[in-house]
Amino acid sequence: MSKTHVSTTINGDPVEFLADPGMTLLDALRDELELTGSKEGCGSGDCGACSVILDGRLVCSCLVLAPEAEGRRVETIEGLANGSRLHPLQQKFLEHAALQCGFCTPGLLMASKALLDANPDPTETEVRYWLAGNLCRCTGYDKIIRAVMDAAAELRQERV
């Protein structure tokens, strides 16, 4: 079993690693690169805890093979804040108490970022359907939806 050499960009930085055959991007992030912010809740694409953005597109990193990251741009939760300044989504999640255990939070934040990148002014229904791939067992989603809507409003303000 020979390993594959992978060169990719993670949160803006060039990164290289060796991937075992069959290694997922999630395993590479967590085990090879020590980026444990992305979580594994199922390993089968059903919970969204592992959500990252790959070349601008939201993916479940547990369903992406690590070598597929070759030459591409990966955004993870570790890169969401701008230095020590939290992204408005992160700030709004805190203000709205949109997390309880927090295990789903990294995935939900990345999924929400992908949504707001594509649609700066989503309706509640659009937010709910967009986030339907991200399970949260603690919150009942109410405060998450409010936090995303509020962050969207703030980001629109910033743009003006």
Binding site: E40, Q100, G102, F103, C104, P106, V127
Partner: protein
Amino acid sequence: MSDVLDRPDIGHNADDHLKVVGTRPIRPDGADKVTGRAAYGADFNMPGQLVGKVLRSPHAHARIVSIDAKKARALPGVKAVITGADFPNLADEFHEGGEAASNLRDMAMNVIARDKALYHGHAVAAVAAISSAIADEALALINVTYEVLPHVVEVEDAMAEGAPLLHPRMFTEGLEAKPDKPSNVAKRNRIARGDLDAGFAAADVIVEGRYTTKATHQGYIEPHATVASWAADGQCNVWSSSQGQFMVRTYCAKVLGKEISDIRVTPAEIGGGFGGKTVIYLEPLALALSRESGHPVKMIMSREEVFRATGPTSGAVMHVRLGAKKDGTLTAADVELKYQAGAFPGSPVGAGSMTALACYDIPAFRITGYDVVTNTPKVAAYRAPGAPISAFAVESAMDDLALKLGIDPIALREKNAVHNGTKAAYGPTFQNIGYVETLQAIRDTEHYRTPLGPNQGRGMAVGFWFNVGGESTAAVNINEDGTAVVVTGNPDIGGSRASMAMMAAETLGIAVDKVRPMVADTASIGFSMLTGGSRTTFATGMAVVQSAEKVIAELKRRAALIWDVNVDHVMWKDGSAWCLDPAKADEKPLSLEAIAGQSARTGGPITGQTSLNAQGAGPGFAVHLCDVEIDPETGHVTVLRYSAAQDVGKAIHPAYVEGQIQGGVAQGVGWALNEEYIFDRDGHMENAGFLDYRVPVASDLPMIDAILVEVANPRHPFGAKGVGEAPIVPPLAAVANAVRRATGVRMADLPLSPPKIRAVLDAKGG
């Protein structure tokens, strides 16, 4: 549940003084959790660690004839293989963990099977290897010879004459006469009062029904994970995600036959538990693998393992019979509950029985519960264990009664409501409860008056949970700059660090951001029972407040020293000591910061620690209102609107209290509409993944209106009651009652999945 309601009041603070309690500060552990830095169970590593994996039974019931691990052991990279033979055999011993008592012997045999595998997924052997791939290969090389036995999954099948017996030496406890034959019924419990026959004879109307629920899983998103190290001198370290590091320590010591002082457990952040992480699965295996291999061992469950081998809660079959006068006054109730326990005794039927009629004042009743073992995973606590199940049956029957009598369902509950001074069906006399206020809060909603459209229905249901106190330790340490650290031994699942910091800040009179809460390992703080039973804010919070009060007493003593006055002439107010000695009228107040800065000169560090066994948690009542719409084409039920009122005593951090309510509602809605364990003919769970075991997603739910009713608990410093469990009690029935009103048909078998609704609509239409 052993909680005592009849405790003296301790004089809680009146609301108007409060500066911190009742506000909504950002949680102190928040930044780490939104940036991916918080370390959960699987995020911790040790140098040289091995990967541990479990071989699980492919049969629902089988005798383990032999296990041959020679080939696995010989595989390069494999460092240890263990089986049940590597663990001591324990005697029966019951341990009260905070949520429910566990038999340690059963727990040990659930961790790893001995002579029999009792469910599909039961651990049979475990390996440690240098990589995950080699560990998988090793599992495939272990040769287990099984003698497959007949199995039984459904609760009534397990109770039937001639059912395959899981434990041939188990005789039903709690019967009048000791049975002469073994049975799968571990226990029968009964709560009764009054003359049942006379009660039914006095009734003008009687409603009756048979209700069933399926096993459902807690569904925490974080799978179980641990890293364990057994050093050459026998000292053990465990990092794991659980609801209680002390629980993990006690159980590991018992299962492995070690002394408690040899084991130190460090709690990881926990990615949800809901009761499901109040027991151990991987930790003793990882420790034994570490002992055998001489390396630290990391183990993480797959989602499939979580479904097959942990949790769930009971599936149940229930009968309810209610008698009432024409005006709605209940005269009698007969409730029979049969709960699946899974492979070992210990279903939550006891709590299900005690809560079943807790909202009602009925002159004559009988509640009979059966705890029944089945070839399914041993049930674990799930949020208000047992209560949502019995509430589904009783509240469905109450709704039928309201329909039959033509009485508003809230009015019917009010007519029969328990009040302060009512002797609860389960024994104690209620005090300081806010049940009628909570009913009133729902009646007052605009929701209750809003007209419904076609294919829509509105259901309501009520629910009860005891809430518990129990043993907790907390320390408040003052830093030299006047800031404070609050140390507790309770994992923070849903924001409890925030409420601990707030209660300490309120008591000390300083800003909440001057207080840093932390959750310590088992070597760094005194014993605390696990986070469960909705006990942390109440019991551990009380320990925090008492510790802060000790700190204040010490601060006053230090101020007295500095001023050279009698300590009786020092008052603590707004975070400062005030000199009341008329002879020293010029002394300016000394702030906490000023006193802390001089602590070295006045006697050293200032700390306060409290260990207590808190009683009088104050029961919680919840009243829920739910609107649904049925799609007549597909049978799909949409929850349109949901309002949930609850007596919370006093909300320390209202946003997290609302969050507990909203989360409980979501789980209950899932239980009502979609979630269920589906077993095939061989007793294998068919839907062991989130694709087929469907928990609610964001698009399945509306906003959930959480209405906080605050009837203070005088036995808590700020009036708090437990809040985490009551909100999952009413939703099963609230949803089912809404479906009943939308379709005109009572559906008594959960979940109310689209095919079942279609069948009902078709039968009605045809």
